[in-house]
């Protein structure tokens, strides 16, 4: 088709682009039309030659051009592997886009060109050590994507390194690399599992989703790895990215099925439930049931259900459905219906989503009718739906039909019969049939309706009705003579074979009711036998045989004739059938002469009463598969499908989930029941709730939403008393606990509930992580906190004055109960940041650990730095010095002393802070504006800066007068973002024990001149960093402690010297960046 001319023009244009840059869009169009894969071998070869030349050139834009065209070929699925050597050279290119495209190419073809691919490995190995985390991550990504078995050990090593990387992004990439390596070499499994175990322990939301994904791909059977992470996964769930959520929930469903007992064991059985009227007293019943049931549910099981529930409001349909399946498979029966509403919402999404959700609903509806009954109308078919959606909706409608709703459904079905979509009409008629046979009350009505359809103009409608009526008559063989007669008449007009066959079968079966008509029909059919479809022919034979048995006088000859015709039919099934029938009916043909034993029984064989077909849903047998899984959708076991285990009869030891170093602030059953009531109250009067309380996500809230207002009013008044009681209880308990608990003093909470817990080995280091999260949250935007607080407190004041004084404490308490200690990172959506609940805790933060006392700095460094140069600013010089004293405005701010000096000739007026940074949690508290500064004079000011635990310079503006603005950057040494604290030696060691692994940095150092006493180094160290000295007994060790300003993460420094020359410095800090920077700085200061 393409003339060689076209090819030459391609070459031309490529060479023109060789000489000169053309706009890429034009190039793209050209590539789109170029016949690279055309049959002209020669020019094809030439063209690649040209590309090679471009790749070999030393101009980046030529290389880029060439790479773009090559990627275009790859994208279109054309062969480009012969360019491999030319491309792979460019892996070292400096141009990042060229590099990226080379990576893409490399991943695609490395498998085919293994030897050449090895050339590129060293580049990646180098990049793995790059200081930029993006480069490290992308190197690992590409390296692990190269499917060459020879590099397995290299990748293994890289994964191990990356799994311990400081950057969570790199660790995430490591998690992604694990399944890649596993698919490349299954022998690495054990080693990979070890890495995976480490990654599963990660607390960063970024990492856990990918880690669980890797877990599912590599070792889904190692459920024991999950135990220790279960609670953490539950609490992080809301903040993991959407895709991770799906994977985690699916995995946890399996986990729950293997670790918890069946919540429905002592429950009312399904039938009873479906009989229970849905609307009537639902609340009471629920409450009762829950009250009854709550103690039987494992607290961890409850935790899982509760943490998953908010995700029903995700925008991602996959997340919603996975929560739905979690509830379907593991929740107590009374709670499952909460997911229905969210599933219905998904029906407004894309067609494909609808299809999959409807399939899930159809399967669920066969077992849990009650759940979807209130949403019946959502399944009404719209004319704009695709056919398969319509069919699924019909399926659901018929499954949901009950005596009360069948009227509406039948009316709808009637309308559907008039639609223009043949398969849909057929299904609608079948649905009528199913309703008729399932619900006895409407059988007659349906039958009449179907019979009236027999006179429909549309052939297909008539045919389908015949088939359905046939089935229905079978279930009710009572006198329906007229219908049979009417159908017999249809034989003349109906042409659809299925329908003809059905009529014939009916006539044969009930021939004694229409003794005159049946033989006549047989006569007609015998006439047209040869032109009928096979299925009809078979039924003609059946009819003939049956009549021959009941009415041999009239039909014996006809029967013989039909069998004779069938004997010479083209279809072997028919011939077989004919021979078989003949030997039973007319044994005289055989040699024996007399009637055989079979023929004597012929009547019993052919006219035996036949059981009526039971119309069933196609979705009935899908229960064996996990809802929403691929296997469930296609109803066969897909590759790699993990069976849902049945609930164990005896739950495995729940202690397996206890995490030693973490505090177990956990819910207990009694606490639950109490909270349930209060949560009820909350969701009712959300206007005056005192706190965003996670318990609202409790099972009741959605019921409540369904109720109308009146009902609520009523019930609320009932509940007031209850509430009050509860309040009293809670508050009395509170008052005692307050001082300790609010501050999370962590000296083992003495409340009853918690004492009951079997795991009480909370230690200080771990509870500190709780506080970390709080303060981190709060620090991100401290300025808006007070406002929110007041807003919250106000309504509470108006409505429930009794509770008011404690409102904040309530908050805290709930927080304690609800989000256990595993939310150490950030929980923006669950409340994180500046949600009011985290506010109060910050005020009391300093008392957080009775054993950890803030200490005043021993040394205040004298080093000053320049903030604003006098030359830049026409005379104003500003210097700053960190004073190491807490700033008055907020304890998380470092205060810096500013010295203003006017070197200029003019008086400077109105010196103040201009624009301030707003991002990343960094905030500044201004120095008091200086109204005027006369030439040659100096003034002091104090500025408070919250660095949000980073050492990034803070940029802001200094304004002078009305028109002069100077951008400045306040740099902070790492030693100043921490604050000295003291603690006992044991506490220090304990804390240190909790901050091992990635949180620990160690360095070795030998001093230039040996020092006799380690203590002499103290001053040196204290100048560099704001650390508190920990008294210790051992003279060969020095210990220091501090907390980061914003998040109050503990920083522990210890110096160990074996002799007087060699030192080992260890820094333990949860903030790995701070830790590593601090150690570098300490090393530098001790070295000189």
């Amino acid at each position: 088709m393409y003339a060689p001319g076209v090819n030459s023009s391609t070459t031309l244009s490529s060479s023109s682009s060789y000489n000169n840059d053309r706009p890429p869009s034009a190039e793209a169009v050209e590539v789109a039309t170029d016949p690279a894969s055309g049959g002209f071998f020669n020019s094809d070869y030439k063209k690649h030659d040209d590309l090679k030349q471009m790749l070999d050139s030393n101009k980046d834009n030529l290389k880029l051009e060439a790479m773009k065209r090559i990627i275009g070929m790859v994208a279109k699925g054309r062969e480009a592997s012969d360019l491999f050597p030319a491309v792979v050279k460019n892996v070292v290119s400096k141009n990042i886009e060229v590099k990226k495209l080379v990576y893409v190419y490399l991943v695609r073809y490395a498998e085919e060109q293994q030897d050449l691919a090895l050339l590129s490995i060293s580049t990646f190995q180098r990049a793995l050590k790059d200081p930029n985390q993006l480069i490290r991550a992308s190197a690992l990504r590409v390296l692990s994507s190269i499917r060459v078995t020879m590099i397995v050990p290299i990748v293994m090593l890289a994964i191990k390194d990356a799994a311990a990387d400081m950057s969570p992004y790199v660790r995430k990439t490591a998690a992604h690399a694990i399944p890649k390596l596993y698919s490349l070499d299954q022998d690495q499994k054990e080693e990979l599992i070890q890495v995976l175990e480490k990654l599963l322990y990660d607390k960063t939301t970024l990492v856990v989703g990918s880690a669980v994904m890797a877990f599912e791909e590599v070792c889904p059977e190692r459920i024991d790895l999950i135990h220790k992470n279960f609670r953490k996964l539950c609490s992080l769930l809301v903040d993991v990215d959407e895709w991770g959520q799906v994977v985690i929930i699916n995995m946890l469903t399996r986990y729950a099925r293997s670790q918890f007992t069946d919540p429905n064991l002592q429950d009312v059985d399904e039938d009873e439930e479906s009989k229970r009227p849905f609307y009537e007293d639902e609340n009471e019943v629920d409450e009762e049931q829950q009250e009854k049931r709550a103690p039987t549910l494992d607290p961890d099981h409850r935790l899982l259900l509760r943490s998953a529930k908010p995700l029903l409001q995700s925008r991602n349909a996959a997340v919603v459905l996975s929560v739905a399946q979690l509830y379907h498979h593991t929740a107590p029966r009374s709670e499952v219906h909460q997911v229905a509403k969210a599933m219905i919402r998904l029906l407004r999404s894309h067609r494909e989503v609808q299809d999959i959700v409807l399939t899930s609903i159809a399967a669920t509806a066969t077992r849990r009718k009650v759940m979807f009954e209130p949403f019946l109308k959502s399944f009404f078919v719209r004319s704009s739906d695709a056919t398969h959606i319509k069919l699924l909706k019909l399926e659901i409608l018929t499954s949901l039909a009950t005596e009360s709703s069948v009227g509406i459904i039948l009316r709808e079905l009637q309308t559907y019969v008039a639609a223009h979509d043949p398969p849909f009409v057929a299904a609608a008629i079948q649905a009528i049939g199913r309703c008729a046979s399932n619900i006895k009350e409407v059988t007659d009505t349906c039958l009449n309706g179907l019979v009236s359809l027999l006179s429909n103009k549309d052939q297909a409608v008539v045919a389908e009705s015949v088939v359905v009526i046939k089935k229905l008559l079978q279930t009710q063989p009572s006198a329906h003579r007229e219908i049979i007669i009417q159908m017999a008449k249809l034989v003349d007009s109906v042409t659809v074979p299925q329908a003809r066959a059905s009529i014939l079968w009916l006539l044969g079966e009930y021939s004694e009711r229409v003794p005159k008509i049946a033989p006549d029909v047989l006569r007609k059919m015998a006439k047209t036998f040869t032109s009928e479809e096979d299925i009809v022919k078979l039924q003609v034979m059946t009819l003939a045989v049956k009549l021959c048995l009941t009415n041999p006088k009239q039909t014996k000859l006809l029967c013989q004739y039909v069998l004779q015709l069938a004997k010479y039919d083209q279809n072997y099934d028919l011939r077989d059938r004919a021979r078989f029938l003949r030997h039973i009916i007319f044994p005289a043909d055989a040699e024996s002469g007399g009637p055989t034993r079979l023929s004597k029984q012929a009547k019993k064989i052919f006219l035996a009463p036949k059981p009526a077909p039971v119309p069933e849903s196609h979705f009935k047998d899908r229960e064996q598969f996990q809802l929403g899984s691929l296997s469930h959708y296609i109803n066969t076991k897909a590759n790699g499908y993990q069976e849902l285990p049945p609930f164990p009869l005896e739950a495995p030891d729940p202690k397996a989930r206890d995490v030693e170093t973490e505090p177990q602030v956990m819910e207990q059953a009694p606490l639950f029941t109490a909270k349930k009531v209060s949560s009820k109250k909350d969701s009712k009067f959300y206007s005056d709730t005192e706190s965003p309380d996670e318990s609202e996500e409790d099972e009741n809230s959605s019921d409540e939403d369904d109720d109308d207002d009146e009902e609520e009013e009523d019930s609320s008044s009932d509940k007031d008393e209850e509430e009050d009681d509860n309040e009293d209880e809670e508050s009395s308990g509170l008052e005692e606990k307050l001082p300790k608990k609010v501050v999370k003093s962590n000296a083992k909470p003495k409340s009853d509930e918690e004492e009951e817990e079997d795991e009480s080995d909370e230690d200080d280091s771990s509870s500190e992580s709780v506080s970390d999260s709080d303060s981190e949250d709060e620090s991100s935007e401290p300025s808006s906190v007070p406002k929110k607080q007041t807003r919250n407190a106000k309504p509470a004041k108006e409505s429930t004055p009794v509770v008011k004084p404690k409102s904040n404490l309530d908050l805290l308490l709930d927080l304690d109960d609800v989000s256990p200690a595993f939310t150490p990172i950030m929980t923006p959506s669950l409340g994180g940041f500046l949600t009011p609940m985290s506010t109060p805790s910050s005020q009391v933060k300093t008392q957080l650990f009775p054993d950890i006392q803030p200490a005043s700095a021993v040394i205040s460094p004298n080093t000053t730095s320049e903030l604003l140069n006098k030359i830049n600013s026409s005379g104003l010089e500003i210097k700053y010095r960190f004073t190491r004293s807490p700033h008055l405005y907020s304890p998380s701010m470092a205060s810096a002393e500013l010295t203003f000096h006017n070197h200029g000739p003019d008086e400077l007026t109105d010196i103040r802070v201009g624009e301030k940074p707003t991002s990343g949690g960094v905030s500044i508290h201004d120095f008091a504006p200086i109204p005027s500064l006369s030439p040659g004079s100096s003034l002091m000011g104090t500025i408070g800066v919250d660095f949000a635990d980073s050492t990034q310079p803070v940029n802001f503006e200094i304004k002078i007068g009305s028109d002069r603005t100077y951008p400045v950057a306040l740099k902070v040494p790492v030693g100043e973002v921490i604050r000295a604290v003291t603690m006992s030696e044991e506490l220090f060691l304990k804390q240190q024990g909790g901050l091992r692994g990635m949180n620990e940095n160690t360095a070795k150092l030998s001093l230039t001149k040996p020092c006799s006493d380690l203590k002499s180094l103290t001053n040196k160290i204290l100048t560099v960093a704001n650390l508190g000295v920990i008294p210790n007994s051992d003279s060969s060790t020095l210990r220091f402690a501090a907390q980061t300003l914003s998040s109050k993460s503990t920083v522990l420094v210890s110096l160990l010297s074996s002799d007087n020359q060699n030192l080992t410095i260890t820094v333990n800090c949860e903030k790995m960046v701070i830790g590593s920077m601090l150690i570098t700085q300490l090393k530098a200061c001790l070295a000189d």
């Binding site: 886009e97 407004r348 897909a638 993990q642 669950l830």
Partner: protein, 368 residues
């Protein structure tokens, strides 16, 4: 998870393919084509097709098929949702997603696909992050890149990827800080022959265009939040604030996004703003049928109704329509059998009406 992706145009050409694991031959699409042939319309192709060794999960958007190939068990909705996200991202990048646009920007498309999935598992799907990794093309940048030799690929890691608010890019700066909110409500109703409502429900969306500097924290409160009993949120919304105070509190992504969508179910009473009175008879005497439709306002609460468009999918037998309108104009597409009447504004004093004859092929066939 997702092994490969094939993008197929309406005429059945695979015009782009991308493999995240080893290469799967495009012949696997033959199974898809088989189903395509069987289906009467592209809408009717099942979203999941099981073949002996692979599972094909497809979505149909902008008259293209996006067919993902999986080899092992995976939640089908996961893949479907991801494919839709891919298309959304393309639309976000190129303002529309058509075959020619994808072909024009194949390098960007390819890079996007590469960033979005790693080894078949989603890596970065937030548009704010992707836009920092790969700059969306625009004319100005295309020219600038050609001149300066710069590229569309950013060399720095988007810090959003690392922060606790992955949906927002950092360092956003605007001279005019502005935020726009669109409220879109769709009423879906089934109305029976006699004109009474069988069921009606509302699907509403709040779409935002936020152009604010820094890290803004917004709250949005409603006069009557009780109406929203069934909502879904963008990940940026704090669930807990909503649960407790019915206030939407969020740190928005930069640019356009859908903040929330809500559904007011069939249990509530929904006011339908217009009514349609129709008399349609397809098989009347002679050459065809008769059609007469009048529109009128209903429950409008005193507001005028504008931009009314009426679409009527006609049965396949209809050949053509000869209609007269007293307002607006109509078009009939004989291929898709869709009658579209653009009414415009409804004037209460003179109700819009369309009437005329419909040519029906049953009868014209008889005359041959």
């Amino acid at each position: 998870m997702i092994h490969s992706l094939f993008i197929i145009n309406p005429s059945g050409d695979v015009f782009m393919e991308k493999h995240w694991k080893s290469v799967i031959s495009r012949s696997v699409c033959d199974y898809f084509f088989d189903h395509q042939r069987k289906a009467s319309s592209p809408e009717d192709i099942p979203p999941v097709i099981a073949t002996p060794h692979h599972y094909l999960i497809s979505v149909y958007r902008s008259s293209m098929f996006f067919v993902a190939v999986c080899t092992t068990e995976v939640a089908p909705l996961f893949v479907v949702e991801f494919l839709h996200r891919v298309v959304d991202t393309f639309e976000d990048y190129f303002s529309e997603c058509t075959e020619s646009i994808i072909k024009e920007h194949y390098v960007v498309v390819y890079e996007l696909l590469d960033e979005m999935l790693d080894n078949g598992f989603p890596l970065a799907t937030e548009s704010n992050i992707l836009k920092e990794l790969i700059k969306p093309p625009n004319i100005l940048r295309t020219i600038a890149n050609t001149v300066t030799g710069k590229s569309n690929v950013s060399s720095t890691l988007p810090s959003g990827q690392l922060s606790n608010i992955p949906w927002r890019r950092t360092g956003v700066k605007y001279t005019n800080n502005e935020a726009y909110f669109d409220m879109i409500e769709e009423v879906d109703a089934i109305i029976d022959k006699s004109g009474s409502t069988v069921c009606a429900e509302i699907q509403g969306y709040i779409d935002c265009c936020i152009k604010l500097s820094g890290m803004p924290d917004l709250s949005l409160s409603f006069v009557n939040p009780r109406l929203f009993d069934d909502v879904s949120f963008h990940p940026c919304v704090r669930f807990k604030r909503w649960e407790s105070e019915r206030v939407l509190s969020f740190i928005p992504p930069d640019g356009n996004f859908r903040l929330m969508s809500y559904h007011i179910g069939s249990q509530s009473i929904v006011a339908i703003p217009v009514y349609v009175r129709h008399s349609l008879c397809l098989r009347e005497s002679g050459s065809g049928g008769r059609l007469d439709i009048t529109l009128g306002p209903k429950q409008t609460l005193g507001r005028t109704i504008e931009n009314v468009v009426l679409e009527i999918p006609m049965p396949k037998s209809v050949l053509n329509c000869g209609l007269v309108t007293n307002q607006g104009k109509y078009t009939f597409d004989p291929v898709s059998k869709l009658l579209v009447w653009e009414v415009g504004r409804i004037d209460v004093t003179k109700l819009p009406n369309i009437r005329g004859t419909v040519t029906n092929c049953h009868f014209s066939a008889l005359y041959f």
